[in-house]
C-alpha cells in the first residue's frame, strides 16, 4: 500500500493528472451545489455539450490547441448557450426545459459538424480535438492543471464573495428582488461560475460526461447535511474523491478511460450516500421502518392470541399461523415474530398450533395497561 502511494507520488505524470482531476472535482462539486439547489441540474448538460463548437472554433481561429485557448473558446460557447436559453424563454412561449433541449441540439450539432470537418481536413491528429468528446485525462499537461487551478480558484473565490447573495437568491428569488438585489445579476454570476466549473473539466472528462460532475457530487452531498456551507464542502470533497479515484483506477492498467471512470466513481459515491447517509439515507429509513413494524407485531400478535382465547373461553385451543396471519394487519414476517415470542416464553407451539403462555397472558395485560388499554 505504502509502496503504491510512493509510486503514485513519484510518478510526475500521474501526479499532474491527479492534481488536475481532483481540482476539477472540487470546483464542479462546490458550484454544482447551487445548480442543484436552484433545480437547474440540466443546465450543466447544456453548457458542457454547447462548449464543443467553441473548442473547435477556437482551434480553427488560432491554430493553437493550448488548453487556455480552447478553454476560453469553450467558455464563450457555453456562456452563449445560456444566453440563448434565456432569450428563448423570455421572448417566446417555449418552456425552459424545451429551450435547454433546443439549445443543446443546436450547439452540440454544430460542434460535431465542425469537429468532423476538422478531422476530414486531416488537421485532427495534430489537434487531438476528439479528446474533448470523451475526455483524455492521461494526457493532462502542466498548463492544463494551471488553467484548472487558476480559473477554478477564481470561481471558488467569487463563490465565497457572493455567498450571501447566492444563498438568498437560490432560496427565495422574489424576496431577494424585493430587498433590492438584482436577481438577474446574481443569476448571471452563478451561471458564469458554473460555466467555468464545467469548461475546466472538459479535457479530462469530455463534453458528454462533464455535466455529471456538477450534478452528482451535489446530489450526494445533499444526503449528508442540512447546512449549505457543509453541503458545498462535502460536495467538493466527493468531487475530488471521484477525480482521484477515477484517475487511479484508470492508471491501474486495464485500458479503461479515466473520464468515464471519474463520473462512475462519483455515481458510486452518490449511491452509497443515498443508501447510507444518516437521517436521509434509505438504509436508515428502511431499518427504522422495519424496527417499527417488528415492535408493533410484537405487541399485536400476543394481543390477537389473547383475544381469540377470550372469545373461545378455552386455554387448550391453539391457532395455525394461517389463522393468525388472516387476522393480523401484518402479512409478512409473522413466523419470525412468533419464533421470537416463543424464545421469550410468551407463546408456545404444539404441532402447527400456537398458544399464548401464562406469561404471555400477563404480558398482554401489562401491555394494554401501559398503552391505555
Amino acid at each position: 500500500m505504502i509502496e503504491y502511494l510512493t509510486d503514485v507520488f513519484s510518478n510526475y505524470t500521474l501526479r499532474t493528472v491527479i492534481l488536475g482531476t481532483s481540482g476539477l472535482g472540487i470546483v464542479s462539486g462546490a458550484l454544482g451545489v447551487f445548480a442543484y439547489l436552484r433545480k437547474q441540474s440540466l443546465v450543466g448538460g447544456v453548457v458542457s455539450h454547447s462548449a464543443l463548437p467553441g473548442i473547435v472554433i477556437a482551434f480553427l481561429v488560432t491554430g493553437s490547441k493550448a488548453p487556455s485557448v480552447l478553454v476560453l473558446g469553450a467558455a464563450i460557447a457555453g456562456w452563449l448557450s445560456m444566453l440563448l436559453v434565456n432569450m428563448i424563454t423570455r421572448t417566446t412561449r417555449v418552456k425552459y426545459d424545451s429551450a435547454l433541449g433546443i439549445t443543446l441540439a443546436l450547439f452540440f450539432g454544430t460542434g460535431i459538424l465542425l469537429l468532423i470537418r476538422v478531422q476530414m481536413a486531416g488537421m485532427s491528429k495534430k489537434a487531438g480535438l476528439e479528446h474533448y468528446l470523451f475526455g483524455m485525462a492521461a494526457t493532462m499537461s502542466h498548463e492544463n492543471v494551471l488553467v484548472i487551478g487558476g480559473l477554478g480558484g477564481l470561481a471558488l473565490i467569487l463563490m465565497f464573495v457572493f455567498w450571501k447573495e447566492f444563498k438568498v437568491a437560490s432560496f427565495d428569488p422574489d424576496y431577494t428582488k424585493s430587498v433590492g438585489f438584482s436577481v438577474h445579476l446574481i443569476d448571471t454570476i452563478i451561471t458564469s461560475l458554473i460555466v467555468v466549473a464545467i469548461v475546466i473539466g472538459l479535457e479530462a472528462v469530455g463534453v458528454i460526461l462533464m455535466s455529471a460532475m456538477v450534478i452528482i457530487p451535489a446530489a450526494a452531498a445533499r444526503q449528508w447535511t442540512n447546512r449549505l456551507s457543509l453541503m458545498v464542502l462535502i460536495s467538493a470533497v466527493i468531487g475530488a474523491a471521484a477525480g482521484v479515484g477515477g484517475t487511479l483506477i484508470g492508471d491501474s492498467g486495464h485500458h479503461l478511460a479515466t473520464g468515464p471512470l471519474i463520473v462512475l466513481t462519483a455515481t458510486a459515491l452518490f449511491i452509497l450516500s443515498l443508501f447510507f447517509a444518516p437521517k436521509r439515507g434509505m438504509a436508515i429509513h428502511w431499518i427504522r421502518q422495519w424496527k417499527r413494524k417488528r415492535r408493533m407485531m410484537h405487541r399485536q400478535i400476543p394481543a390477537l392470541l389473547h383475544d381469540l382465547m377470550e372469545r373461545t373461553k378455552t386455554k387448550d385451543d391453539g391457532w395455525t399461523i394461517d389463522v393468525i396471519r388472516g387476522l393480523s394487519p401484518y402479512k409478512s414476517g409473522i413466523d419470525r415474530v412468533l419464533n421470537h415470542l416463543k424464545s421469550e416464553g410468551l407463546v408456545q407451539q404444539a404441532n402447527d398450533l400456537w398458544f399464548l403462555t401464562q406469561k404471555g397472558v400477563e404480558y398482554v395485560g401489562i401491555d394494554s395497561k401501559d398503552h391505555g388499554g
Binding site: K164, K167, F171, D174, Y175, T176, V179, F181, N226
Partner: protein
C-alpha cells in the same frame, strides 16, 4: 388629506398578452390593516408583486410614500406565500430570518452581531426562539409562516406586504399572527394582506379591496364588504356566505 402609504394609478399587468391586472387605481392609507380578496387567478399576488417591482407592468405606476419603490424599499417588507419556496433547502430557521437584514447590509457584506441580535429578537417575538437552529425542512406550516414573518420584522419596515399569511396554518399561529398584525398597526405600520377566507374579513381588516383583474370595490371594510360586491368579484364561484345572509 394625509399622505397614503401606497398610491397606484392605471396599473396594468399582462402575461403573454393576457391581462392579469387591468387599470388598477388604488390608494391605501397609512396605518391600516388592508385586505385584498378575490377569487383564484384574480391577480392578488400579482398586485403585490407589481407594488414590489417584482413583475413589470405594461402601464401605470406605483408610488410608495409618494416615491418610486426603489427609493423607499427599505421601508417595505415582503412576506411571500409560504408555498412559493422549497423548504427542503439546507438552512436553519435563524439563517432564513437573518436574510431579513440582507437588504440593509447590501451586496457582499455579511450580517454581523447587530443583525444577529435583531434576528433573535424577531424569533422571540414569534415564539420561535427555541427553533432557531431547527432545519427548515422540519418545520410545520405554521412555523414556516412565522419564520417568514420573523424575517420581515428584521427589516423594521413601515409597510408589510403579506401574501396569504393565513393559508394552511394552525389556529394558534393564526391568532399569533393577527395579534402581531394589530400590534404593528398600533405602532402606525401599514399592513397589506392577500387573504382568501371570507369569514374572517370583517374581523381582520379595516380596509378592503375586492379584486378580479380590475377593482370591484375598494374602501373601509364596513362600507364595501357586501353580498353585492362579493357576487361581483366571485361571480357564480361561491355560494352565498352564511355570515352575510
Amino acid at each position: 388629506m394625509p399622505q397614503s402609504a401606497i398610491e397606484i394609478t392605471s396599473l396594468t399587468v399582462a402575461y403573454h398578452e393576457q391581462p392579469v391586472l387591468w387599470d388598477i387605481n388604488l390608494s391605501i392609507p397609512k396605518g391600516v390593516i388592508h385586505g385584498i380578496i378575490g377569487p383564484n387567478g384574480a391577480g392578488k399576488s400579482t398586485l403585490i408583486k407589481a407594488i414590489l417591482g417584482i413583475v413589470h407592468p405594461i402601464a401605470g405606476q406605483v408610488k410608495v410614500f409618494g416615491e418610486e419603490y426603489k427609493k423607499q424599499r427599505k421601508r417595505v417588507a415582503y412576506v411571500p406565500q409560504r408555498t412559493s419556496v422549497d423548504w427542503d433547502f439546507p438552512s436553519d430557521v435563524l439563517d432564513i430570518v437573518l436574510m431579513g437584514s440582507y437588504g440593509q447590509v447590501g451586496w457582499i457584506r455579511r450580517p454581523g452581531k447587530k443583525e444577529k441580535k435583531m434576528a433573535i429578537e424577531a424569533l422571540e417575538k414569534l415564539g420561535l426562539a427555541n427553533l432557531a437552529h431547527r432545519q427548515i425542512s422540519e418545520l410545520s406550516g405554521g412555523q414556516q409562516q412565522r419564520t417568514f414573518l420573523a424575517r420581515s420584522l428584521v427589516q423594521k419596515p413601515d409597510i408589510y406586504l403579506m401574501d396569504e399569511p393565513f393559508a394552511g396554518i394552525d389556529a394558534k399561529t393564526e391568532k399569533t399572527i393577527i395579534s402581531l398584525m394589530k400590534e404593528l398597526k398600533n405602532q402606525g405600520k401599514t399592513l397589506i394582506v392577500v387573504h382568501h377566507d371570507l369569514q374572517t374579513v370583517r374581523e381582520y381588516f379595516d380596509w378592503l379591496t375586492l379584486l378580479n383583474t380590475s377593482i370591484i370595490a375598494h374602501g373601509p371594510t364596513q362600507e364595501v364588504f357586501s353580498d353585492n360586491t362579493i357576487e361581483q368579484a366571485y361571480g357564480g364561484q361561491i355560494q352565498k356566505h352564511p355570515s352575510l345572509v
